[in-house]
Symmetry: C2
Subunit: 329 residues, 2 copies
């Protein structure tokens, strides 16, 4: 069994075309070709921490994957990153371990950003006038970096609670080729953007239905656990299309769970992302429609990125550096 | 994060006094000081395989442990071991990975045998006349090896379906200082032994109540999943004491689950091993009593052995080789 470090993983990642791989994962999931048991969870109390174990496989492929990811917020006091983790690959045929990708949660960040790009590719209006980024953290950066490959628009509005972080974000993203304006009010962002990505860890709605311009697509990727929430349920209720990365998971967590509980939407209204990708569902019909996608993170994303990274590291060194990285420009 | 191989693990294991450590784990578990979520399970179909993820921690200690163990029976056709696995240690304080013990399921075998020794230490009659070993596989060997430290008796009766395996077992165990007789019928074994260990993967009872001599202690460790079974439920119904390694787990799997379902025992009859070890339950009262212990394997055993092995490998090299190994004599 080989162990690969974050440095080694980062070296091969730019050479991997992740979007089609992760699209394939979502499609397999929605077609019932993926086995993804419920997430294992271990809660630590003092200091508080949580550990999630996501695992599964796509039938007929070579590997199954077990991902261990943790969040320990008090680590900040110790000058340590709060997130940590690894992905382990095993052979489906024999159960033998193949490798450990000690990615320190980096691959989870990347596959989450890639899912955002996939959603924008299929659900954003054809003419994106401005991209609205809600939040100024790591995913606010990564989501925009990966959008570059699927959306032509380079005009960005950003909103966050900290003026300093908004300014830092604007400067950093300007260096990556975007024109960024920092908004004082989230309403300014909502009014002027027709592709909105919410990336915060908010626990109460930041956006309400009256703020949303018809024809907007919203990707809500911040609320991945039961307590988090970024969108008022009426936004989902009024949308022409509400897409879940995993309907079964969104029943329990994220924006969709809130909107279902509060009666703004019914489960029959939901469409699964993989069904849009495979063409089973037509997706957005015109630039006038308002669409919402709720991303909670599904193990098929981990399965696909882990396999691709391992193959790049081990089997197919000639395929490295084939595609430019969205992070390097 | 360090990775230790089976060879490195085997080198330090003889220096670790596992019995008190694993006793401590069972006691912590029964006192509610261990957090052990439900076992994660991934089933593969073609070829058939199953993967179990056991994980948890003891409150206030340094580490939490995630164990991944798999069984792929068709591996035998490929000349590969059917079992595989590893244990991962993480810091409770920060979630940081500490090490990976790539033990290839060896530590699970050892901690299972140690649990058998602990049970015998507390529940076997004072005068063990003969040890009856049902089965001729790996655990039949390991259980006897670890009994050596807690039971004086060196007279062993063995029963199994294969004459050849019984003879091989007898020769091997004779080399370890036991006098071993192979039985043609399991009834001979049951009649002459007052400490019986069942170690098979049988799916129907091998022992019935009429075969058991009063005053016997039986440790049933073969039936760790829902479908397996070694004892008729009446044995448990007639016993003076029925001990579970984990009552919550034995409700679902093992001998106790069968006996509960068939009405031979009630849940109120059950005593948890940790309560016997800590003295909360008095355990066996005399050599006349018949007792049964059902071992299904609990994550606290993994937690304790993983910690001890890691500390021996890393922190406390001076403590190596302090105690002789039951496997080396």
């Amino acid at each position: 069994m080989k162990v690969f470090t974050l440095k080694e993983i980062k070296a091969v990642l730019p050479g991997i075309d992740l979007i089609p791989l992760i699209e394939e994962g979502f499609a397999a999931y929605s077609q019932g070709r993926a086995v993804v048991p419920p997430v294992g969870e271990l809660i630590l109390k003092d200091p508080p921490g949580d550990v999630h174990i996501k695992y599964g496989y796509i039938e007929g492929e070579d590997y199954f994957v077990i991902k261990i990811a943790s969040g320990f917020l008090d680590n900040q006091k110790l000058d340590l990153p709060s997130g940590n983790g690894m992905m382990l690959l095993f052979r489906q045929e024999t159960g033998e371990p193949v490798c450990l990708l000690y990615d320190e949660v980096y691959l989870t960040d990347i596959r989450t950003a890639v899912a955002g790009a996939i959603v924008a590719k299929y659900l954003a209006p054809q003419n994106v006038e401005r991209i609205g980024i809600v939040g100024t953290g790591n995913q606010a950066r990564l989501q925009l970096a990966y959008l570059k490959g699927v959306v032509d628009c380079r005009h960005v509005l950003v909103w966050g609670r900290s003026e300093e972080k908004k300014q830092l974000y604007s400067r950093e993203m300007a260096q990556k080729g975007f024109t960024v304006e920092a908004c004082n009010e989230i309403s300014e962002l909502a009014e002027a953007s027709n592709l909105v990505i919410t990336t915060t860890s908010a626990t109460a709605p930041l956006l309400t239905a009256d703020l949303i311009t018809p024809g907007t697509h919203i990707t809500a990727m911040g609320s991945d656990t039961v307590g988090k929430r970024e969108l008022d349920g009426v936004i989902l209720g009024q949308a022409d299309l509400v897409v879940a990365d995993s309907i079964s998971q969104c029943r329990e967590r994220g924006e969709i769970a809130w909107a279902l509980r509060e009666g703004d939407i019914q489960e029959d209204d939901l469409v699964e992302l993989g069904d849009v990708l495979s063409g089973s569902h037509a997706g957005r019909q015109s630039d006038d429609q308002t669409t919402v996608a709720d991303l909670t993170g599904v193990a098929v994303q981990d399965i696909q990125i882990a396999r691709a990274v391992y193959e790049a590291l081990h089997n197919k060194p000639d395929e490295r550096a084939k595609n430019p990285s969205p992070l390097s420009s």
